[in-house]
Point group: C2
Chain length 350, copies 2
Amino acid sequence: MDLPEDLSRSGAAAAAKRKVEEDANSGPATKRSSNSSSEGVENNITAVTDEKKSIVQTTFQTLDGFKVDSILSNSADFKRIVVEGTVGDQKAVIILDKKPFTEDILSDLFSKKSELVHTFQNDIYGSYDCVLEPKLSAVKTTIVHPATKQHIDKYRIQPFYLVQETPEIYKSVTLPYLQSSSFDIQWVHNILAHKKEADRIIFEDPDPKTGFILLPDLKWDGETINNLYLVAIVHEKGIKSLRDLTAEHIPLLQKVLTEGSEAIQKKYGLTKSQLRVYIHYQPSYYHLHIHFTALSFNAPGISTEKSHLVSTVIGNIGLSPTYYQDSTLPFTVKKGDALCEKLLENGYKF
Amino acid sequence: MDLPEDLSRSGAAAAAKRKVEEDANSGPATKRSSNSSSEGVENNITAVTDEKKSIVQTTFQTLDGFKVDSILSNSADFKRIVVEGTVGDQKAVIILDKKPFTEDILSDLFSKKSELVHTFQNDIYGSYDCVLEPKLSAVKTTIVHPATKQHIDKYRIQPFYLVQETPEIYKSVTLPYLQSSSFDIQWVHNILAHKKEADRIIFEDPDPKTGFILLPDLKWDGETINNLYLVAIVHEKGIKSLRDLTAEHIPLLQKVLTEGSEAIQKKYGLTKSQLRVYIHYQPSYYHLHIHFTALSFNAPGISTEKSHLVSTVIGNIGLSPTYYQDSTLPFTVKKGDALCEKLLENGYKF
């Protein structure tokens, strides 16, 4: 949870990010020029004009000239730091990500150029600092510049809190909040109507009550089996979340689990026991969808306070048909989120 | 799940590892000597004699001379690779971990020495490769040498599978397996009897039926609140796991949740809503213990197929006193593990 992922598919920020990722390999519509907008940043930047938008982009040559204003997040697990900085008179967000090791560098890595400094020895365990060749230890760097307050806030890690949502809190706070918010799920309806992403569908059961469409999640490259991630979107409209599931939905859930797993095994080779099939609460959009990830994948949002295995959900509804209406359910909120504010207004104590 | 952690505190390998960690700052009981056991590894090693064990330890000066035999694991998330190698005629395990960014290096990092190579630009998003000063990009390296097959197997990532454990499978496979295995939990009894680690106890409720001891988990440094990790060990002996919990244990679980959270708030400042309080199934040792981690910490083993929030456990037992005897419970097994073999022998289909 050091590195919260934006799971939303609506939301302007997410859409912008998605666009960046999609365009990552298509090359920039930019052209080098000799203009320079440097102020107090000597010998560091090259100005580039974006012809389409007539704005001057800046290409930096070193990290010199950035004044560090604050650390927005720092993940010791994932080896990533995000910094808010100023360069000249403009704000920037700088994201530094250490790169994974790849197999193709091993022959360069196991060489005389990898110097070891011994730090301690205990029995057969030797501990060292190893300095690699510079080319083997480059850091993936993203510079958002110029950055607005919105960009900076998007990358700033916020404290978050566990909520124990009783049925009363759901009825008096969460449900009214959901009903008053205008969550745009037109893109879901486009998929269900085959208007968009039809070529991405892996499997469909067309039954309006118990059917669903299975397709790769946007975060997945569609190829790497270790990181397999698909999502099943149910045809029935009106099931907002886990809270709405009752005994009548057992056939739907059973179908998703069985047919979805079979379709994945057929296409990608992973068996049912190599899959994690689960529902988020709270979800990122309020139309029932079920996540399928490779069990080997440390996917975002699989922690116990957020994810509910479909097999367990079926078991719980089987035990008590109104389990998800009667139970206290956990979920997390970020400080400052609208739902967090609503809970505070209604006297919830964090 | 790319990086399975060894959560076990019993087991010889884990004990050895723990010893290494405990002794990390106390300095090795070794002495440099001019002996050399190098074979085919020129100018690379320094032999060191461990006086207590009369064995010759090797200190390596570079990564040259290691023949890479196989990759035991490679985590793109955590930027860690573990390699099985041969040096001379002996086996070794080499663990390379990229280091987290720390705040104290930022002034060195944002300097002319951090060279940027522009890879692409899309609107305000610039993507670069950044080559840092060598001292800023050292890699934490652990060399296990000489390594036995047992060491190599310990670090080898194995496929793992989700098991849906019905009550029948628990009774016919899991329980007999547990009862026939000699899990050594003397160290747990030492803690409960105040014979060991007494100075590490944060809180104790001495009640023999509903009491527990709360102390920092060995994996925690005891200081960094973002990674806070404590464990509550119950005084009552004989509760092997989640499967044994019934309505009679609600007072115990409620106490752990309330008193444990209060003790943590008092000592470390995190409130109840900033904590994740959960039980593992399967646990790493079969004496009931409850994990407390900072909600912000992406702790190992918090995924939905492994961890059960105590609040949800209390709710489930409240709904049905024998919920954990009657339900199908998920857990994961690694290929080759004893329990995995037992399940296969008994006809379980993965």
